[in-house]
Amino acid sequence: MQCPKENGNAAELMIAYVAEALEPATQIALERHITQCADCREMAAQQKAVWDALEDWKPAPISSDFDEKLYQRIAQDEQRGWWRRLTGANWSWAFRPAMPVAAACAALIVAFLIRGPLSEYDSTPQVQPQVSIEQVERALDDVDLLKQLTPSAPVEESAGERI
């Protein structure tokens, strides 16, 4: 077997070797190599030391009422479930298609409140002319006066000649 350190896979092999996770043939070959290679022997010994040290760390016993507490939590969760389903995120999904419409309506209402009714702005103010009879009479007099001052043009003659 070629030295794993030369292959660059020493770490992977040593971890698997100590964990006894290698194929039997590879395990035996590596074991044989370790007896001949000092570097690999040292690395395997260090990994074995770590492995054994971790093995010593036993977990503490579990509380006797673990299951009891869990079932209580589940029961409480189930009771709260109805209210959560009513008030939970599902409603937002249910109303999701209506959200753009609602947003558009809200925008229109806000615009209406800020700017007021459109009719007030679109209708131009109508100015009612207040003309008195005296003004009309005066204007007619002015027209007559202008007619008198204007010289009579030979329009009809010219026109007759053309005809």
Partner: protein, 219 residues
Amino acid sequence: MSLEHIRTAAAAVQSPQPSPDERVSPDMTALASLERDAELMLRIREGDQASFSLLLERHRLPVIHFLYRMVQNQAVAEELAQEVFLRVYRSRDTYAPTAKFTTWLFRIATHLALNWIRDGKNEKSQESLDAEIAEGATRQVADRGRTVEQEMLYQARLGEVRQAIENLPAKQKSAVLMHKYEEMEYSQIAGVLNCSESAVKSLLFRAYETLRSRLAHMA
């Protein structure tokens, strides 16, 4: 589901069960048990409460032990484990057996533990952690009947191991604990940590390298 109903269902599931310390291995027995887990989940969805009790019986210890080594506090580990199983129960309607059940279960457990560590909650329980170390060691020693000298040596050794694990980055720590104590393969650890197998190898190499430098003198 009423509490009484669950109790009755749990009592009904007192038939001989596989060892709670059952580890994940690639042989046919493990494959059958994995399929059984998925089947149990599907039965829970159909309202079979006894299946949940069975599932709890099968996975309670590995989950709590993993969490205990992650957070190094028994009370917190049990609290987090309850949350894990509560989430499993809540997910009964949406569960799809697309991945191994244990991968999914440990993904929930790892997620909760990493969140707990990230939120710095471990600092709050530092005092209880010290008491926990002493208490836990005492419990272990009592069974082994060591002398006072052996006891002190053991305590020092155990303290070093725990400290070395505690000092690892959170992801390296979870990878090592799943590899060493749950005997998970790289592919399954990758599934739990949601990363590639090569990333898991890298995490493990770095973690064991750190541990070798800190614990090699124990050889």
